[in-house]
């Protein structure tokens, strides 16, 4: 009963926060954002912050992370920040265009909006809304449905800034775009950002997103990313989550794919507190193919909840989902994956796999792979396993003179390798493989990747 009233208070608080700051929000942003605010707020008032009574949020207590006292600001707070501190985000031998978001705001280490050679436009979302309102109107909030999810509604109601990537028709080079989301604040903070990636017909893009926290404060991020992949376009999207264990993150991504497009969406979670990743994919044009992948390595009291929804709306599409998790200590994990094949989506091929390893008796995993199929000429399958490291394999390695610790690491690494091997950008794969290896060895704590060396809680 208490939880219900807490949630009620929370929903009211957030609603009040909106109405108290409405004028400031509207005056400081483009009409593209403003036009949807009232409707989004209305649906937030209806939906509220999702709690465990909702089937899709059963495994994760979202109101709890909202209820911890966090500072919320409408306007941007000045944070002094040395870009050189980001050296550890560098991917050796990979030349990237770097976009920096600090606490959800574009950081001006580069022009706010820049047209790169080849026509690609990257930069700040709020600036893009001012300069290219027509382009934004075509895509903004067209894929993210704020009427279904309270968190998306909340984000849409307060949307101000984030990253904007536009790859025009036929454009694209091999140079990857790297987005670094930095959390750095002298106090506990609530952060929201709204991102848009548009890859037009026949274009190619590679995007690497890294989430980092640079101070040991409590953070809560509620981000929404919309991704449009046009006909024959190709997108590789990688997300690396490596925040401190006090940082909670809710990240919702919508991938919309047109005819014969190809997209890979890969989430690798190394550190963080409570993490909820939603990935909604809609295959909207024939011949589209999608891979949604995930790997999470958890220990202590971390919690990672992955939710995927693949909507096969048209015939002849292929989707593959593969999620793997290793849970140590008291970590808890959840996976929910749903494949929907609509009645007209014949000749669909959809596959989904979720494998998990529990290393301790206190770790806990729930998994719900789901198929909802209304067409008959389809090939769909899903599989899920929860188990532990194979004792026979450990014995085999030990009998060859490999220590038990090393044998376990080898097996865990091999388990995660399947996801890593799908990364097509070689330097990135090597860098991530290295990070995963370090993470498994326990050498990658937040501190040694943090430039502040504050030696605080890791």
């Amino acid at each position: 009963m208490e939880a219900v009233s807490d949630k009620h208070i929370l929903d009211n608080q957030l609603t009040d926060w909106y109405f108290d700051n409405r004028d400031q929000l509207i005056s400081s942003s483009s009409s593209v954002f403003n036009s949807l605010r009232p409707a989004a707020m209305e649906s937030f008032r209806k939906l509220g912050i999702p709690d465990r009574s909702l089937e899709n949020y059963k495994s994760t207590d979202i109101p709890k992370v909202f209820l911890s006292p966090l500072n919320r600001y409408i306007g941007q707070r000045k944070i002094l920040f040395a870009v050189e501190d980001l050296f550890h985000c560098d991917i050796p031998e990979l030349d990237t265009e770097l976009i920096l978001l600090v606490n959800g705001w574009f950081y001006e280490n580069r022009p706010k909006l820049q047209v790169l050679p080849g026509g690609m436009i990257i930069g700040s979302m709020s600036e893009a809304a001012k300069q290219y309102p027509d382009l934004l109107k075509q895509h903004y909030s067209k894929y993210a449905d704020y009427e279904k999810d309270g968190l998306v509604a909340l984000n849409t109601a307060f949307a101000q800034d984030g990253t904007f990537i536009f790859v025009p028709r036929g454009a694209g080079n091999d140079r990857a775009i790297q987005i670094v989301n930095v959390l750095l604040s002298p106090e506990d903070l609530f952060v929201q950002h709204r991102n848009l990636v548009i890859v037009e017909d026949n274009a190619t893009a590679k995007v690497v997103v890294c989430d980092h926290s640079l101070s040991a404060h409590h953070f809560l991020t509620n981000s929404v990313t919309e991704i449009y992949v046009g006909p024959n376009a190709h997108l590789d999207y990688f997300k690396l989550q490596n925040e401190n264990n006090n940082s909670n993150q809710i990240s919702t991504s919508f991938v919309h794919q047109e005819r014969s497009s190809d997209a890979v969406f890969n989430t690798i979670t190394l550190h963080g507190g409570l993490i909820r990743n939603n990935v909604f994919t809609r295959l909207n044009g024939e011949g589209a193919s999608n891979q949604t992948l995930g790997l999470f390595l958890m220990d202590k009291t971390q919690h990672v909840d992955s939710y995927t929804f693949v909507d096969h709306a048209v015939p002849n599409c292929t989707s593959r989902q593969s999620f793997k998790g290793i849970l140590d200590d008291q970590a808890t994990g959840a996976f929910t994956g749903r494949i929907l094949v609509r009645p007209q989506a014949q000749k669909t091929q959809a596959y989904q796999v979720n494998n998990n390893i529990l290393l301790t008796n206190d770790a806990r995993m729930s998994t719900k792979p789901q198929l909802e199929i209304y067409a008959d000429d389809v090939k769909c399958s899903h599989g899920a396993t929860v188990g532990q490291l194979d004792q026979n394999a450990i014995f085999y390695l030990q009998s060859r003179g490999i220590s038990i610790r090393e044998a376990r690491l080898l097996l865990m690494y091999a388990f995660g390798h399947e996801i890593l091997s799908k990364i097509t950008v070689d330097p990135l794969r090597e860098r991530l493989a290295d990070l995963v290896d370090k993470r498994l060895r326990g050498e990658l704590t937040r501190c040694n990747s943090c430039p502040l060396h504050c030696q605080e809680t890791c």
């Binding site: 089937e55 009645p343 014949q346 998990n356 529990l358 290393l359 301790t360 008796n361 770790a363 806990r364 995993m365 729930s366 998994t367 719900k368 792979p369 789901q370 198929l371 909802e372 199929i373 209304y374 067409a375 008959d376 000429d377 389809v378 090939k379 769909c380 399958s381 899903h382 599989g383 899920a384 396993t385 929860v386 188990g387 532990q388």
Partner: protein, 482 residues
């Protein structure tokens, strides 16, 4: 290939429901509606002790506070619980349990259904409890079973004759607070079977209950309780049919199984309630709570179900694996044709150490049918070395049907191994072509393929039932590929 299959589809979808006849009987029924008064009258009609009435009233009061569950992948029109007759019994002389005393009209009905109540005529190795609407008509072989200490009787008789056992076990597996339909059933249940196998006894014959809904506007609420003491074994079968009526009828049953140390219970169902006509009119709404508990070490409960009937099926036979090294099994074939909807599956709750469970579910959807598998495998903290294997396959015949899979896996113990696999596909054109090429016509070929697909489950049924189930599958489905 669609061209030559259309006529076959038509043939199949227009096939008559074989058991749809109505027996004209005088009925002794309570008026429509549900309130405490009705429950008191119902209890009085059944000549029940006071404690049973108390349980009913408690359940009813709790039911009033409950909300209809909406999580299932089913479209169910609003059911008016006041528009249902909760008790209807064929009017006859007071049942004496003697064959000569059974109304000949009833005998004829059960003969027609292929369930002769005359022990002379009966298939050897089968004992039957025949239930029509709200009461048990006749239980065969009661006496010879009693010789080895087995109690096999109608639930009402058991309430009078073995109150201690009923009080001890009834509601111990499915309490009335369990869910909406369990509460409703606990309040108004009419009849069913009670089976008690004493320590060390291996039941010499297959026990079975045959449920028949006959009267119109009546709901059937039966209750079955099976208790197997230490080292006992029993195989129990359940079959059901109903007449064709335009109006939907409600069936909400509870089955409870208790297996003590080293006991084994096999429970098989061939559910063939009237599924409604090809436009989705009429049919039975089937809301069943079935659950077994493996109380003792090394006990085993096995559910096998062939679900071909009912307009709506909502059914999750479950096992609570409490004893160490206990085993739970679930084998299911669910068929939905025309406008039928099924949301069925199982729950395997691993509590004891070294517990094993197996789930094999085969869904077949045709016409506009919607077929969902929904299952839970939970491994609790102390369930060391739990092992589960689940396999859920769906076969789609026709482009307007749906097949869905909603498994839930919750693992709280590191030593558990849980696997789940599901596939959805249609019958391959190459498979049919292969058969055609060898002179097998398309209809027979599909029959062969479907039977092959369901074989894994059908093999778990006792022989006579397997033959029946195989025929049933053919009737429900054969040729309905699109």
């Amino acid at each position: 290939m669609n061209g030559d299959q259309d006529p076959i589809i038509n043939q199949v979808t227009q096939r008559e429901y074989k058991y749809g006849f109505i027996t004209v009987l005088d009925n002794d029924a309570l008026p429509k509606g549900l309130n405490e008064d009705i429950i008191c009258q119902l209890s009085a009609k059944k000549d029940e002790p006071e404690w049973m009435l108390e349980i009913r009233l408690k359940a009813f009061r709790y039911w009033l506070t409950m909300k209809l569950p909406e999580w299932a992948h089913l479209k169910i029109p609003v059911i008016d619980y006041q528009d249902i007759i909760y008790y209807s019994a064929p009017k006859s002389k007071k049942p004496t349990g003697r064959f000569e005393d059974v109304d000949p009209e009833l005998l004829k009905t059960f003969d027609k259904l292929g369930i002769p109540l005359d022990e002379q005529k009966h298939l050897s190795g089968f004992a039957v409890d025949a239930v029509m609407d709200s009461i048990s008509v006749k239980t065969t072989f009661k006496e010879s079973l009693a010789d080895v200490g087995i109690i096999f009787s109608s639930f009402s008789d058991a309430v009078r004759e073995h109150p201690d056992l009923i009080r001890k076990y009834m509601g111990s597996v499915v309490p009335y607070r369990d869910n909406f339909y369990a509460a409703l059933n606990s309040a108004v249940f009419s009849d069913g079977s009670f089976v008690f196998i004493p320590k060390g006894v291996r039941c010499p014959m297959e026990l079975s209950t045959y449920f028949r809904i006959n009267a119109a506007n009546t709901g059937q609420f039966e209750r079955t309780l099976i208790v197997a003491e230490e080292g006992a074994y029993v195989s129990y079968l359940e079959g059901c049919t109903a007449p064709k009526r335009d109006k939907n009828q409600l069936h909400a049953a509870i089955v409870e199984i208790v297996a003590h140390t080293d006991a084994e219970v096999k429970y098989s169902t061939v559910q063939n309630w009237y599924p409604g006509d090809k436009n989705g009119k009429g049919g039975i709404y089937n809301f069943v709570t079935k659950r077994g508990i493996c109380l003792g070490d090394r006990s085993k409960i096995s559910w096998t179900q062939v679900e071909t009937g009912s307009a709506v099926t909502w059914k999750y036979p479950s096992c609570i694996l409490r004893g160490d090294s206990s085993v739970g099994e679930f084998y299911s074939v669910a068929v939905t044709n025309n406008h039928q909807q099924a949301d069925t599956g199982t729950k395997m709750i691993h509590i004891g150490k070294n517990t094993h469970s197996t789930i094999v579910s085969k869904g077949i959807s045709a016409g506009k049918g919607q077929n969902s598998y929904r299952g839970l495998v939970r491994v609790s903290k102390n369930a060391e070395n739990a092992r589960n294997y689940s396999q859920c396959d769906s076969l789609l015949l026709g482009d307007q049907c749906g097949a869905h899979t909603f498994p839930y896996i919750e693992v709280d113990n590191q030593s558990a191994i849980v696997e789940h696999e599901a596939t959805t596909s249609k019958i391959g054109e190459d498979q049919i072509f292969y058969c055609n090429q060898r002179g097998i016509d398309t209809e027979t070929a599909i029959g062969l393929i479907v039977n092959g697909y369901a074989r894994e489950v059908l093999n778990k049924l006792p022989m006579e039932f397997a033959v029946e189930a195989q025929k049933l599958l053919q009737i429900s489905l054969e040729g309905s590929i699109g």
